[in-house]
């Protein structure tokens, strides 16, 4: 009985311990997200790009990889430039989808689709760290901004993956 209690105590301690661990040190001093451009033929409102920009910034803040998530066109100290990155991109394709197909066929037929090309560069020398191509889909019954949320999450995921592959990234 005593051994079981001890085991429970140790297990509980082991579970709680990671909660007290410090957040990892951010790998970059700052990150700047820019508004994504739209290719010709992409029928999305300017509000969509604003929302995508906001979502991307929110996701970057959540990722805790960067000391500061700065707004578009903000100045950065020259000393911090080598440890700062810039995220640029463009929406290359957008399909509205079909609610009728979605209702009649199902199985993701008629879903909205968004393709985004992203480039992540180092601020100091403009060296491209990674350039993921994101493709997200969502039901036409949902708002198109759901795609922006999904795309932002995927971009940050790709950045994390690229930084993990390349070691520190700095």
């Amino acid at each position: 009985m005593r051994k079981i209690r001890m085991a429970i105590l140790v297990a509980a301690f082991g579970l709680v311990l990671p909660g007290f661990a410090k957040d990892p040190e951010p790998q970059f001093k700052s990150v700047e997200a820019k508004h994504f451009t739209k290719s010709e033929g992409v029928e999305l409102s300017p509000e969509f790009t604003d929302y995508l920009y906001a979502e991307l910034r929110a996701e970057l803040t959540k990722a805790k990889l960067f000391g500061q998530v700065i707004g578009e066109g903000e100045v950065v100290d020259a000393a911090d430039a080598p440890a700062s990155i810039v995220i640029e991109g463009g929406i290359t394709e957008y399909k509205k989808g079909s609610a009728v197909k979605d209702a009649l066929i199902g199985f993701t037929a008629g879903w909205r689709s968004l393709k985004v090309e992203t480039t992540i560069k180092r601020r100091s020398d403009q060296k491209v760290i990674v350039s993921p191509q994101i493709h997200v889909r969502a039901s036409p019954r949902w708002k198109d901004k759901v795609l922006a949320k999904e795309a932002a999450q995927q971009i940050v995921k790709e950045i994390k993956k690229a930084l993990k592959d390349s070691g520190t990234g700095t």
């Binding site: 509000e47 929302y51 700065i70 903000e74 100045v75 759901v146």
Partner: protein, 263 residues
């Protein structure tokens, strides 16, 4: 008396009944069309008036409900937005002083203080123009870059506010957005340039009204701070100031006194 009876078909078979009705003994003529479809339904105005009354009652109820749903500012649904942490403006080659002249609302919003309509609404305690002016002056003052008056300022700022509050989101969160343009004017030369800035913030939705209010306030505060930072630390302001700032005219040296010739 003109006859409106159809001239063909069932007209061939009708009966004319004659009788007396009422106390006054007015003769009633009842034309009974035995086969004509015109006689099938007699208008019952009593039923129609009932339907009208019901419709009137329903529309009145709907109007009253709509009036009740129209949010009104109360202390419990009013939030106080202010810049939580003063943004430190970028440093310029020489210490410049700015003066905030006018803040104009260009949002075209009939109710600029109503930021969230559902669930009784959420209101700002002041007009967005006032909040903007206060936030900007606080930030400039914190860096000792606020001029006391227009005359002593190196640059005069005129702000045009395009958006202040929440914007359309995906439905799964609140999307706060503050957008404005500042006209930076050098009062000495009279030249000016426009600098635009925006701030955004995303916050999660909530179910309880108290939490909704908290999230909305946090969201707007963040977006507001972000917009101020975007303006005060932006490259656009730096470029505008660099273009407009002309070095002060050197003061004319005092007239050199002619040396007195000594004899």
């Amino acid at each position: 008396m003109g006859c409106r009876l159809p001239r063909s078909g069932p007209l061939g078979s009708f009966a004319l009944e004659r009788g007396f009705g009422g106390d006054c003994g007015v003769a009633l003529l009842r034309v009974v069309f035995t086969q004509s479809p015109m006689t099938e339904a007699r208008l019952n105005f009593r039923r129609t008036s009932y339907v009208c009354r019901w419709l009137l009652a329903l529309s009145t109820t709907a109007c009253l409900k709509a009036m009740a749903d129209e949010p009104k500012p109360k202390p419990e649904n009013t939030v106080h937005v202010e810049v939580s942490e003063a943004v430190k403006p970028q440093t310029f080659a020489r210490g410049l002083k700015f003066f905030v002249a006018d803040v104009t609302d260009r949002s075209g919003n009939a109710q600029p203080m109503l930021v969230y309509r559902p669930r009784g609404g959420i209101f700002l305690d002041r007009a967005p123009t006032e909040i903007m002016r206060e936030g900007l002056t606080t930030c400039l003052k914190s860096a000792d870059a606020l001029a006391a008056d227009r005359e002593s300022a190196d640059f005069v700022l005129t702000i045009y506010l395009f958006r202040f509050g929440l914007s359309d989101s995906s439905g799964m969160d609140f999307f706060g957005k503050v957008e404005f343009a500042a006209v930076v004017k050098n009062p000495r030369t009279g030249k000016s340039q426009q600098v635009s800035a925006s701030g955004t913030s995303i916050a999660g939705v909530a179910v309880l009204k108290k939490n909704i209010q908290k999230n909305v306030l946090e969201n707007i505060n963040k977006a507001f701070g972000d917009a101020l930072r975007n303006f005060l630390r932006g490259e656009k302001l730096r470029d505008a100031v660099g273009t407009l700032d002309v070095p002060a005219e050197p003061k004319a040296p005092p007239a050199a006194e002619k040396p007195v010739m000594q004899k």
